[in-house]
């Protein structure tokens, strides 16, 4: 297989990954890494580097659309980015020293976890309770616009959310994914944010988190231009397409399909990791 054929196939696969990733909100990275390693036998370090770059592209592209709606909370985002960037630097350093098969096994476990989580019900209507002490100090409580006027919300358990964000950052830096699922746990379940705010704010943070580990990956030589080129272009195009159809389409069946694919890929990753094939 020549470079041009290889690049075109990767481009098409990345387009699909970007499209489905943006429709389900899980991001393209969870598909791209198994695709590159299992199907094309690319070394996992190159795959992580390419995925990380594509994560930055999708996050920035989607955030551009979200921020103009005024739903994301830039203060919560910036505050929690301290945690995610710290974690991301740690995760990227870990990735340098962790053996390939171990990364594959951890990746598979995070995939299964993300797939299971995508079915969880999100906080639509909030029971308003008193905000925590830290959320006042850091001015995190806010409101967001809806068709029926502004809805205000309070933020809880800031310290717990912050710790969870460090974990999300480590996973992102170690595996080259956005780890949106963990960010959503931190904001939905721990900090009790409305899901619209947590989704958009999480997406907003993913790019900065990934940029923090991308510097390390670049210097270490994990970012291969020949491989990253079709991955990034495909994912950008796919995610852009996804954001156009997102509003209209019914995504429930898509989530189920995606979860099945992801679980299958996860088992493959874990199996190949244990048997030492990756």
């Amino acid at each position: 297989m020549t470079i041009i054929v290889f690049s075109l196939i990767i481009l098409a696969g990345s387009f699909l990954a970007g499209l489905v990733g943006s429709l389900t909100g899980l991001g393209g990275g969870v598909i791209i890494i198994p695709m590159l390693t299992l199907v094309f036998h690319v070394d996992i370090h190159y795959a992580i580097g390419a995925s990380l770059i594509s994560v930055i592209a999708t996050s920035s592209g989607a955030a551009a659309a979200y921020v103009k709606e005024g739903i994301s909370n830039i203060r919560i985002g910036m505050f929690l980015e301290i945690a995610t960037t710290l974690g991301a630097v740690g995760g990227a350093v870990l990735a340098i020293y962790a053996p390939t098969h171990l990364i594959a096994i951890i990746f598979g476990m995070v995939l299964i976890f993300s797939a299971a989580l995508s079915f969880k019900k999100r906080n639509e209507i909030l029971t308003q309770t008193e905000p925590g002490k830290f959320s006042k100090i850091f001015k995190l409580n806010s409101s967001y616009p809806t068709a029926s006027g502004n809805i205000s919300y309070n933020v809880h358990h800031v310290a717990g959310g912050f710790l969870m964000m460090i974990v999300a950052g480590v996973i992102s830096g170690l595996l080259g994914i956005g780890s949106g699922a963990l960010k959503v746990i931190a904001m939905d379940n721990i900090m009790k944010l409305p899901f619209k705010v947590s989704t958009t704010t999480s997406n907003f943070m993913i790019g900065v988190t990934a940029a923090a580990s991308a510097g390390i990956y670049l210097h270490r030589g994990y970012i291969n231009p020949g491989l990253s080129m079709p991955v990034v272009l495909g994912v950008i195009a796919g995610a852009f397409m996804g954001s156009k159809v997102l509003v209209k389409s019914e995504t429930k069946w898509l989530r189920i399909l995606f979860a099945i694919i992801i679980t299958f890929l996860a088992i493959q990753m874990i199996y190949n990791g244990i048997s030492g094939n990756l």
Binding site: M1, F40, S60, G61, E81, T85, P225, L233
Partner: protein
């Protein structure tokens, strides 16, 4: 930004949105251009991504990448586009520092600066080894 109206979070977010989308479009265009040159030059040879050996030492720091771009090396052009992409969210944090400063929210100027320092650490000190 020059009007006398109070600068709000929404204004900051709106400029950020424009900044992000511009960054993605520019870097995507650079990657596409470099990619087209790369495939034109080497499209018929075989890829070798199976064994990890580190990228060519010429493409691991910004200065080396820029030198490659000057020599019209297609891989360096792609890599330059990827660096622009990495720089986009970092530019957003830099912009946040300015935005919060204009809003006179000094606590968040500090928080944005902390994030910036962590990213700078990743890019500068770790890469030195």
């Amino acid at each position: 930004m020059n009007t006398k109206n109070k600068i709000t979070d929404y204004d900051i977010e709106s400029v950020m949105g424009t900044l992000l989308i511009t960054g993605v479009i520019i870097s995507g265009a650079v990657v596409l251009f470099g990619g087209a040159c790369y495939l034109y030059q080497t499209g018929s040879s075989l890829p070798h991504y199976k064994t990890f050996s580190g990228e060519l030492s010429g493409l691991r720091s910004v200065r080396q990448i820029l030198t490659g771009v000057m020599h019209f090396d297609s891989l360096a052009i792609i890599q330059f586009g990827l660096v622009l992409l990495i720089a986009t969210p970092i530019a957003r944090v830099v912009f946040s520092v300015v935005g919060f400063f204009v809003e006179k929210d000094y606590l968040y100027v500090l928080i944005s600066l902390i994030v910036l320092v962590i990213i700078a650490f990743s890019i500068l000190s770790v890469g030195a080894s």
